[in-house]
């Protein structure tokens, strides 16, 4: 009696997981399906399943100058803003957790408030300010703007990581005669390394996926980022859905690889951010 009941239970458990799997993966399948169709077969063949495996769209994508330029722009922006954000966040989080000084808690609060303030509130003055300092339509300008949310994000996450490591080690090293800086580099940095990987992944994807600032601040095709270019593709007359999905697939690939290669760090980062913060 109990075993049959268990069997049913196990059956429904895996059935639910299977349905969940389809729900999760279907959009990815649809992206690939459309990306492998030629423009003419998009409308003529109402099929759910077969893929044409027509590589035309991928060829068009990697030969499209707009796409390649924006890919290059995105890579430059993401790497520079991530590296700067990691450095500044590391310094700030270290300062806010390990060192004691007047006004520390207030500064910490300001950074968390900045972390919680979304781009939707700030994008208008940001565009005006970037224009006023003559950095509209430059990669530099967008890097600076991205730091405004990447640094608070990184600091917020790293504060959590710093709180979860044994600070006594740093104190012990200092008693043994190490300077603050030596203790930071030799003792704390190795301990915080997983946190830096998490922050690296999350800030990089944050910059990579950003749409609103990029849309408002960089309108010149030469400095557009990937999301803006792909969206811009949809506005053309002939609605090149297949090409758009091929570009999307190419754009999604590096980020998905990054996430799954660093899955452990991503999950740890999210947890640290929302629980230990």
């Amino acid at each position: 009696m109990i075993t049959t009941k268990n069997k049913f239970y196990v059956f429904y458990k895996y059935l639910t997981l299977f349905v969940l799997g389809i729900f999760i993966l279907f959009p990815l399948y649809w992206m690939l399906n459309l990306s492998f169709r030629s423009q003419s077969s998009l409308y003529t063949r109402f099929t759910l399943l077969p893929l044409d495996l027509n590589l035309q769209n991928y060829r068009l994508a990697i030969e499209n100058d707009f796409f390649l330029t924006s890919l290059r722009n995105t890579v430059i922006i993401c790497f520079s803003s991530t590296l700067i954000a990691i450095l500044f966040s590391l310094m700030a989080a270290y300062s806010l957790t390990i060192l004691k000084y007047k006004g520390r808690d207030t500064l910490g609060k300001i950074i968390i408030v900045a972390f919680l303030t979304p781009g939707a509130i700030l994008f208008i003055p940001m565009a005006v300010i970037v224009a006023n300092i003559n950095l509209s339509n430059t990669l530099k300008g967008l890097v600076l703007v991205y730091l405004s949310f990447l640094v608070p994000l990184g600091t917020y996450l790293l504060i959590g990581f710093f709180k979860s490591i044994p600070v006594e080690l740093e104190e012990a090293a200092r008693i043994d005669g190490a300077s603050r800086l030596q203790a930071l580099i030799l003792i704390l940095l190795p301990l915080i390394a997983p946190g830096l990987v998490s922050v690296g992944i999350l800030t990089f994807t944050g910059a990579y996926n950003e749409l609103l600032y990029a849309l408002v601040i960089n309108t010149d095709p030469a400095v557009r980022t990937l999301p803006v270019t792909i969206v811009w593709l949809t506005n053309s007359e002939e609605s090149p859905w297949g090409l758009m999905m091929a570009c999307s697939a190419i754009a999604a690939l590096p980020i998905m690889i990054l996430y799954f290669a660093g899955q452990r760090f991503v999950v740890e980062g999210l947890q640290t951010g929302s629980v230990k913060g």
Binding site: L20, S95, M126, S248
Partner: protein, 303 residues
């Protein structure tokens, strides 16, 4: 030591008491972050508040006009619609993410083969860039190339394709559904981690006492994950209220203004080059952000 030297020493102590080596180093280390935030957070915010009281346009710096922009906003039926839509959108999205996230977390917390693999699967919608995800959903809902219409027609449920993003009756529900798809993994992963942190002995003890599954969930799991539920809810709500791209990439606020939420409204105002009014619209998101920020700060301090 002369009197003046003593005074000098006391003054030095005062200054160096504030600027102990630790303090100096502390300020030095946080300085880069503060410089960034001064120029690209505090300054824009203050500047935006100032612009919102002027009739600034793209070409004209504008004059001070008091609360006129705000009054005009309240008289604007589209703004009122945007507030209403935001409330509907956020409520349903958050209910959906919570239900799905909790259900999946409980499922993944069972005895499972290859749990790591399933957890990885759940992460997929979160790992895919948002702009890609919403463009795909736009093409799933599409009347001509959309999978949903193909499927519904194939199984004979509908005769003619439905414009899921183009009809007033469907658009909001459609964007809510796709936003849930993109957003539930964060909740599921957080809830799962919290569930796994609940001590197993509690469940064993409850089982010995004869508590059934519901009682175990109600009295052990739920209290165990309550703090995580709260913080995830607050973080996710802030980002959902401001989810510009989800709407922009699928409907751009349409049909007419059926899916206009506040960030979309602000963006539309900006593209009409009335910067003063657009600023006032964007700032209308501030009160709710403040409420959630205060709640989160209080929560973090307690921990």
């Amino acid at each position: 030591m002369s009197k003046s030297e003593k005074v000098l020493k006391r003054q030095n102590n005062k200054i160096f008491g504030l600027l102990k080596p630790d303090s100096l180093f502390g300020y030095f280390m946080i300085l880069p972050a503060l410089v960034v935030l001064s120029f690209f957070f505090a300054y824009p915010l203050i500047y935006e508040i100032y612009i919102s009281f002027t009739d600034k346009t793209l070409s004209n710096d504008g004059d001070f006009i008091g609360f006129k922009n705000y009054i005009r906003l309240l008289d604007n039926p589209e703004f009122v619609t945007a507030i209403f839509n935001s409330a509907v959108y956020v409520s349903f999205v958050q209910i959906g993410k919570f239900t799905l996230g909790l259900g999946i977390a409980i499922l993944l917390n069972q005895k499972l083969r290859a749990r790591g693999l399933w957890r990885g699967l759940v992460l997929v919608p979160y790992a895919i860039p948002g702009f890609v995800a919403f463009l795909i959903w736009r093409l799933i809902y599409h009347t001509e190339v959309g999978a949903l219409n193909v499927f519904l027609q194939k199984i004979g449920l509908i005769d003619a394709p439905i414009s899921f993003l183009g009809e007033r009756d469907w658009a909001m529900a459609s964007v809510i559904f796709s936003t849930i798809w993109r957003g539930f993994p964060f909740w599921a992963i957080m809830f799962l981690a919290a569930l796994q942190a609940v001590p197993k002995e509690l469940y064993e003890a409850a089982a010995v006492d004869g508590a059934n599954a519901w009682h175990r969930f109600r009295n052990i799991s739920l209290p165990g994950i309550r703090p995580v539920i709260l913080i995830v809810f607050m973080l996710s709500t802030i980002s959902t209220i401001n989810s510009f791209e989800a709407i922009w990439l699928q409907t751009a606020g349409g049909p007419s203004d059926a899916t206009v939420i506040l960030p979309i409204f602000a963006y539309r105002s900006l593209t009409s080059f009335n910067i003063g009014e657009a600023s006032a619209a964007a700032l209308s998101l501030v009160p709710i952000s403040i409420v959630f920020s205060v709640l989160i700060l209080r929560k973090l301090r307690k921990d």
